[in-house]
Each structure stands twice: as C-alpha cells, then as structure tokens.
Symmetry: C2
Subunit: 426 residues, 2 copies
C-alpha cells in the first residue's frame, strides 16, 4: 500500500487555503473557514470512497464501506488563532490518504479504515469536544455551558453552522478496533536529535497550581519601604526560590512553566496589593508530578506569612498521564525501521485527541518533526520529505495491522516490538 506523496501535499496545501493567514492558518472551530474546511473534507472523503458526514458536534467522519470492523485514523482540522498549517490537519489528511490508498490498492479484508476529524480540539469553545463526544464522555451540561471567549455559546454556533440536531457519531465498540493519530511534534526534539519519525509512548499529565499573594495596596511614593506589604515582591522571591526546587525534582523530560503573572492594581505608583502566578508542570509519571507538587506546596508554605504576605495555592487543572498502546507503538516503530529510519520513542508534552480515545481503544501516535520546534504559530512548518515519510510509515503500519493478526486484539503480544520505558520511570 503506497501513499501518493504529491497528492497528500496537495491536499494539505488546499486545506491550508481555508483561513489562510500569511504562512499559517486562522481557522478556529466553527469559524467560517473552519466550516468550509469541514465541507471540503466531506467531499474529499466521499471522493476517497468513504461514506462521509458531519455530526451534531462538528466531527467529520468518513466510514469505510462493506466492512464491519475498522481501524480509526484521525486528528483535528481546527487551529488556534493565527496557527500553523499542519498541526492536526496533518493527521486527518494522513487518514484520508491512507483510506484512499487502501481503496486504490484493491486489497480487501474484514478490517477497513475509518477517518475522523474531531471538533474543537483547540478549545475555541470546549477542549476536545469532538473526541469526548465521540467517546461518550461529554455531558450536555458541558455543551450548554461552553462559550467562545465568554460570549457566543457553542449551542448557538452549532445551530448557525447547521450541525445542531444531527445525530452524534459515536465510537462503536463492535466496529472500532484501534486508533492511530499522526501530528506534528510541536517541539524541537526530533530535529535536535536528527530523527525523522517520533513514536509516542504516552501523553504527559498536566497540572496547574495558581499561587496568590495577598498584601496591601499602598501609594508607592508615600509609603516608607519598611511599612509595605508588597505582594509583587513576595511573588518575585517565591518564583526565584521555586526554580531550583523544580529543576532538582523534575525528570529529565519533565517540564514546568511560569507562563502567567499578574500584579494588582498593576500600575507604577501603587505597591501591588495582590499578585498571582500560574505554575504549569508536566510529566508522564504521577509519582513525579506528586513530588513536583510537594515542592511547590513547600515553597508556598515558606512564603506564606513572610513580610506580612499571605500565600495561597489553588489547583485549577489536573490531567492524568496517558499511556499509549505499546504494541501499536511497536508496530509504528517497526514500520519506521522498515523505511530505514530509527524512530525516537518519546512522550508527548502536548495534549491530543488520542488522550481521550486511549480511554476506550488501543491508541498510538506518530510525530513528524517540526522545523525549529515551532507550532501554534504561522511559522509552523515541516519538511515535505518528512511529511511524506511519516504518511508512508503510518500506511506501512496500517497495512500490517489490517493484514496481520492483531485484529481485535491490540494490547496483545503479537506486535510486541520493544518500546523504551516511559522516560519518567527511568
């Protein structure tokens, strides 16, 4: 089963025309270009021989004809504001091209290839709404509450798009045997290590802690230094002390970020009365996440009360790490080696629809290198040869899967190509 690299690239380029924004794409979920892109994708799927439709949440689903069971391949075509042209679109068009190549190959068997583009992976309204609805883990209450930037409701936008009221496409346990997703890496590791294929071992857990410092807002000209209760100064010292604590605790591949700070009232002539910082940290090991959390809490405890400042922590987010299917990962790794490329076995530091799917199906992911590690930006790009190679590797893996013995038994031992231990455990 050979994919057509030129056709694949042409489809990706055509899709990038919906919401083009300089060298990138601005195609947030349910925007006009996003809806046009979904209609385009339905036509492309139909041309590829799939039965295609858009469901009630906006998922675009293309179903193989004449088979009772299928491997599901997909990702998402919505983008962040002013995002890149590849991102999840890559994985959707891989699915389209592989289904098309399978159809053209004339080969048949009891397993087909279904293709899906999940709605709102990028959280314009509701993070991973499409994959969560597909897996039956999205409540009506969540859909009702979802709004774009606090104003337009998801429900309204679905009505306007004409999707509201359509039946939802659901994961069919009798039909869907496994899920594969390709995506750009969104980081610099493959490039830095000179690898052209990444095989994802798992998706890191993500936790956030918001630390709030409460002091007293005073006039910055008239209040002597020794009488101040400067919440901003307390924040600076806290962040300074937190750095070595987290650096010494994290795993080699663990990460943390202080991405958001705010001083209140936030003007030059008032001593900050309150200040807050959002700490995000990721690791593939729950035990490691717990240790990082303990360090943060210890730093908060050390800061609390110092200089008359109250320090308090809240935890607005906690996502459990996801382990992907070792056997499916091994299958992709073997396919890469079959094309002469030693893959890098790596965790994904970013969330993906595969996180949701993996709770219901054996799931695996393939990464394509990102030039300069750039993503979620119009500068995002990957080399064409890497894009085509990734698709061929996935097609090779699919071919083995469709023809092999794994049918209905992923997670079993047949494809147990050794996958490195999760780095967080090492």
């Amino acid at each position: 089963m050979r994919i057509d690299g030129d056709r694949l690239l042409a489809d990706l380029r055509e899709l990038a025309g919906f919401g083009r924004c300089g060298t990138g794409v601005h195609r947030p979920f349910l925007s006009q270009p996003d809806r046009e892109a979904r209609d385009w994708l339905v036509r492309k799927m139909c041309d590829a021989g799939l039965d295609a439709r858009i469901d009630g949440i906006g998922n675009v689903f293309g179903q193989s004809r004449g088979v009772a069971r299928a491997l599901l391949i997909g990702s998402h075509t919505d983008t962040v504001p002013r995002g890149g042209w590849l991102d999840g679109a890559l994985g959707v068009i891989y699915g389209l091209e592989i289904a098309r190549a399978r159809c053209e190959s004339g080969e048949a068997g009891p397993l087909g290839v279904d293709v899906i583009s999940f709605a709102d992976e990028e959280s314009a309204y509701l993070a991973m709404a499409g994959s969560r609805a597909f897996c039956g883990c999205l409540s009506d209450a969540e859909i009702e509450a979802a709004r774009h930037e606090g104003s337009r409701s998801l429900r309204e936008a679905l009505v306007e798009a004409g999707y509201a009221g359509r039946p939802l496409v659901r994961l069919a346990p009798d039909r869907h045997v496994a899920y594969l997703e390709a995506h750009i890496e969104q980081g610099p590791r493959l490039e830095a290590e000179g690898r052209r294929v990444g095989v994802v071992t798992g998706i890191v857990g993500i936790r956030r802690i918001r630390v709030t410092f409460s002091g007293r807002a005073d006039h910055a000209g008239t209040t002597p230094m020794h009488l101040r209760r400067d919440a901003g100064g307390a924040l600076v010292e806290f962040c300074h002390e937190l750095r070595p604590r987290l650096e010494e605790t994290r795993s080699p591949e663990g990460v943390w970020n202080l991405g958001q700070v705010a001083f209140d009232p936030g003007v030059g002539n008032v001593v900050p009365g309150s200040a807050e910082v959002l700490i995000e940290y990721r690791d593939q090991s729950v035990e490691r996440l717990d240790r990082m959390e303990a360090e943060i809490q210890a730093a908060v405890a050390a800061a609390d009360g110092r200089g008359g400042i109250k320090a308090e922590a809240t935890q607005p987010l906690g996502l459990t790490p996801t382990t992907l299917d070792r056997n499916l990962a091994g299958l992709i790794a073997a396919a890469a080696r079959g094309r002469g490329e030693e893959p890098l076995l790596m965790p994904s530091g970013a969330g993906h629809d595969a996180m949701v799917l993996s709770s219901r199906l054996p799931a695996a992911m393939l990464f394509v290198p990102s030039i300069g590690g750039r993503s979620h930006d119009v500068a995002e790009d990957s080399a064409e040869v890497d894009i085509v190679l990734g698709a061929q590797v996935m097609a090779d893996a699919v071919r083995v899967f469709l023809d092999g013995k794994l049918r209905g038994k992923p997670g079993g031992g047949e494809f147990c190509v050794p996958v490195a231990e999760s780095p967080a455990d090492s």
Copy 2:
C-alpha cells in the same frame, strides 16, 4: 482669624456627596458629579464673598474683591476612580474656609486670599492640566491629544461640560504673591511618628524605567527546559537581583516600586516570549536618583544576553525634584508650634499641584495625617480634630503672612524659621 471647624467639616461632607461611593468618592475630572461639584464650589465661593468662575480648562477660581494682590490657596476636587473623600478636596475647602474667615474677621489690608480648585490633578485626561494651564505651561497640542482611557477627548468633554471657549484664569504675577496647598499625607509617617501636622520640604523627583526582556515563545509542554529562552524567568531573576541593589542605594526616605509586570503571551502553556517590568523610584535628591538609575542600568546590563534573553531599558518618565519655599514652610511650622504641635518636616512622596506652582511662585504645603496611611481608596480618612487643626494652623500662617512683612518678598529672610535639611541630602 479663627476658622469654623464645624462649617469646614460640613462643607467637606457636602462636597463628598458629589459622586459618593461607599465611604469614599468616585469623581473623576469632568464626570457628572465632578461638574456638579464645581458648580457647587462656585456657589460656595460666591457665598464667601469671592468673585467665582469656572475657566476654559475647568479650574474653579474665587478671587478676593478690592485687593490688588493676593495669596493663592488651593488644591483639587477631582478624585481617582473610587477614591477618598479628602485628598485634594481638603486643601480647596481649607482655602474656602480661610477666605471666608478672613472676610468675616473684618480685617483688611493690601493682600487678599484667592482660592482655586485645579482641573484634572488626578490625570483622568491630562495630569495637572489645571495648574499647568494656570501657570502657562500647557500647550494646545497637549490639550488636543489628551483622552480619557484612550477614547473620549478632553476637548469634547470640555465642550460637553460647557467650559470650552471660556477664558483661562492665569497666574497674575502682579497679583499672586505665593501659593499654599493643604493635602492629606497619603502615607503613614505622621501617624507612625505621632505628629498631627506635616510641613512639606519638597516634592520628590519621580523616575520610571521600563525593562523589556525578549526571549522566544515556545510550547511549554513540548520544548525541553534547556532549549527555552524564557523571558519571564529572566524577569524574575532580574527583579530578584535588583532588590538589594536598590535597597543599598536608596536614601532612608527614598522609595522604589515594581508595580507593573506583564508576560506575553501570558498563558499557562506557553513559555513567555517577552516580559516587562516597570520600575518607579523617587527621591528628593537628583544625585541619589542618578545613583539608583545607575544600579538599574547595571542590573539590566548584567541580565542582557543571559540565557539568550535580550534585556533593554527605556525611561518613560523623569520628574525633577521640587524644593518648596523654606520661609513659607517655616511660617507654617511656626503656626503649628503656636497651636502646641511640633510639625514633622518631610518630603512629599506624591506629586501635587504645588510642584507646578512652585516654578512660578513661592509655594508651601501642609499635610494632615491619613489614618492608616490610606489614600486613593474609599477607606481614606483623617480624624476630624486633625482636619480642623490643620485648617487653623494654615489660617494662623495666612494671618501672619497677610499682616506681616513677607508681602511680595517670600523667599526673603523675614520668616526664616529653620527647616530641616532635605532628608535626601542628609
């Protein structure tokens, strides 16, 4: 010349009714309550025997009849958003009460008392627009450019208020011999030192330096720690290092503040690509301000290039320190002692209209203690006995001034009551 404390307090309470906001006042310049308060003040001035009017920039001016020369007393009645009931209103009502008491005393002489409430001291549109217009140091271009929060223009607002086109009241060198301003302290020093009267030796110089750190925005989940160029982290370390530098350099009464920080893009899952902090520092000595600036620039130089981050400084504000008139200050100090109160000789850490006036006239200021040092907040307050005492002390000083030998020669030696050296020089 005895002031009527009850009448003074009643006027202050009545004025606080315009824009009442809980225990405080919301009366930004040219808001509806501000305009109503100006009309009320005109009536009050007329009742006190002054010729009163509102001029083309919104200054409320009450002129003594039958005299060719006058001492000018005033401050401002506009407030910050959700501010306190005293602030500059105190100094305006002191002027009103003293002019009224002078009129009632039946005493006459070649010198009268003119009263003024300056427009927009609090910078709703244009900082100290009223006193600057009065002193002839406000350009038409500045007025044309001034806008409230970037939208409504000062010119439009003046037209709507009905002030546009009226003649400006100007400082008259032949008439105005000196300027006195009372104000709440806006800080905790008088309270902390158990003093009831502050005599202001000068107004500190204020400088601001904005330091911008430029790194690279990266995905905080997929970018390994060692490949990041974290502008936010650079800012934290810079601020941490700056603290001891400024603490060791400042004078005992010098102050500094890091009141404003921003990370860009400022979200939890993106490594800050740029970050900036606004440093404000104040001192009454130019030499000391220069030394603080040198420390900041040295810290910027140390940070520049570290971790692949560019650090750059700009200086958006530089206000020269103001020295007030030693002899007028001595006059107020002597009046306080005459009422059994040893005054605190202190610099003002905040800016006041007296800064502007002092460039044209001998000027002095009296401070009344602020409870808990609070100001620019609805919690701002002063004890009634302190408010009344301050007015009586100023009235006593005015009486000596009007009857004494200083006429037309402030700055001379007649009233040379020793005033402590500026603390910044000690």
